[in-house]
Symmetry: C2
Subunit: 247 residues, 2 copies
């Protein structure tokens, strides 16, 4: 596929999403289809918390590289979405609410106890990426949000239909994301289509999105390995205390 | 276990090694016992190349933080061991020799084609750790070398005995490591026993070693997941072209 125009770039980005976004991962299919037990879903929520908690850190790192106050102001909305404007608000609080409704102790989640090292390495790689790579690539790495509504839709429908320990209140995190993610993705997509004005830069944008799909994919690989098959959690990792689908 | 003395620290470090070093990982047991096929051993050598290639980078990063020329001179031996003093020498060349003897194209290995993202994330986490954490912890993270002779002995004996496509010449990398690793480990162990002069610092030293055992363990987790069980390599990862034990 060529990259000789902005629209060719967008087409290639959408192709990467279709092929590599983590809605294609077997762990997601298991979750969607009701094949996980409560302990496995707890492990997912716990590990995903680490990712959630680092999103406003990576967005702050991007803001720290933006010279233009207008851009910084727009980007700051992402941080506000996750942190809220006062305690108890924002995406991180809503993720902790999900963890609590799943039976995890929010204090233990916040303390990051039992997170898989592979989760930590993948999430840290993302934070370092946005700090160290050219700004265009740092912004491009956020483009997985283009594909978020699909996975959120599948995930929330599956979680509600398949697991009687999950109700709509537990999933309020995802409500706001259904409007936030497309707004953010539209902005970032416009940005990279405007600023990637050579084939080399468009290729770098694609590579940044591929890197980010790897970051998301590796997190599900680690969960699958530790908690589904062959179920070999490393020392120190979260050990579910429940193992049946409906307790 | 208390940490109120240097000898208590050493005992705790040895305990961490006994419990958490990657000689305890199922992938190592499979390799040692002849249960892997050539493609799986290729995948191991390829991914391990990335780790090898970053060792002199992390050691250079430590040197860049050492004020004392005496310390820097001692530490520089590690870089020389891996890079050699001219082309074709040193540990990285010897690792590429192993890859070549296993049937991999050294140019593709050097280009880092097909490396698992989880390998990359773990190795990068190690490099970032030595750059960003207190120097004492950066040095302590090298202490896995205390346990290297055991795994090297098991690995080389197993590789030679169990796989007819591997001979002593393929394994020359490990010969030098059997003297280099204990020398380096002795120095680093003396350093942390001398400089960790509070319980808090001794705890930080232990935590740095735990971090490093996680870095090594996560690499074998990723190999196991992608190439042994459930055999789900992510897109873009190395695909073995051989699959029988003796081709």
């Amino acid at each position: 596929m060529n990259l000789d125009s902005a629209s060719a770039l967008e087409a290639r980005l959408r192709q990467i999403g279709a092929e590599r976004y983590h809605n294609n991962h077997p762990f997601h299919a298991l979750m969607r289809d009701g094949k996980l037990d409560k302990g496995q879903i707890q492990a997912w929520a716990l590990n995903r918390y680490l990712y959630q908690s680092r999103i406003p850190i990576k967005d702050s790192a991007i803001m720290a590289r933006l010279i233009d106050p207008d851009l910084r102001r727009i980007w700051s909305q992402r941080v506000i979405d996750h942190d809220g404007t006062r305690e108890g608000q924002g995406g991180i609080s809503r993720w902790l609410h999900l963890c609590e409704r799943l039976g995890l102790d929010p204090a233990m989640v916040r303390a990051e106890h039992g997170i898989l090292p592979a989760t930590r390495f993948a999430v840290e790689a993302y934070v370092h990426f946005v700090r160290e790579r050219p700004l265009l690539e740092a912004i491009a790495s956020s483009l997985t949000e283009m594909f978020a509504p699909t996975i959120i839709g599948e995930r929330t429908a599956g979680l509600l239909a398949q697991y009687d320990f999950i109700d709509e209140d537990a999933l309020i995190y995802f409500d706001a994301r259904l409007t936030q993610a497309p707004r953010d993705a539209d902005f970032a997509l416009d940005y990279v289509k405007t600023h990637a004005d050579t084939i080399e830069k468009r290729q770098a944008v694609c590579d940044a999105l591929l890197f980010k799909t790897d970051v998301l994919w590796a997190q599900l690989d680690a969960l699958h390995f530790a908690y589904v098959d062959p179920k070999l959690p490393p020392s120190g990792a979260f050990v579910p205390s429940v193992s049946t689908p409906d307790t």
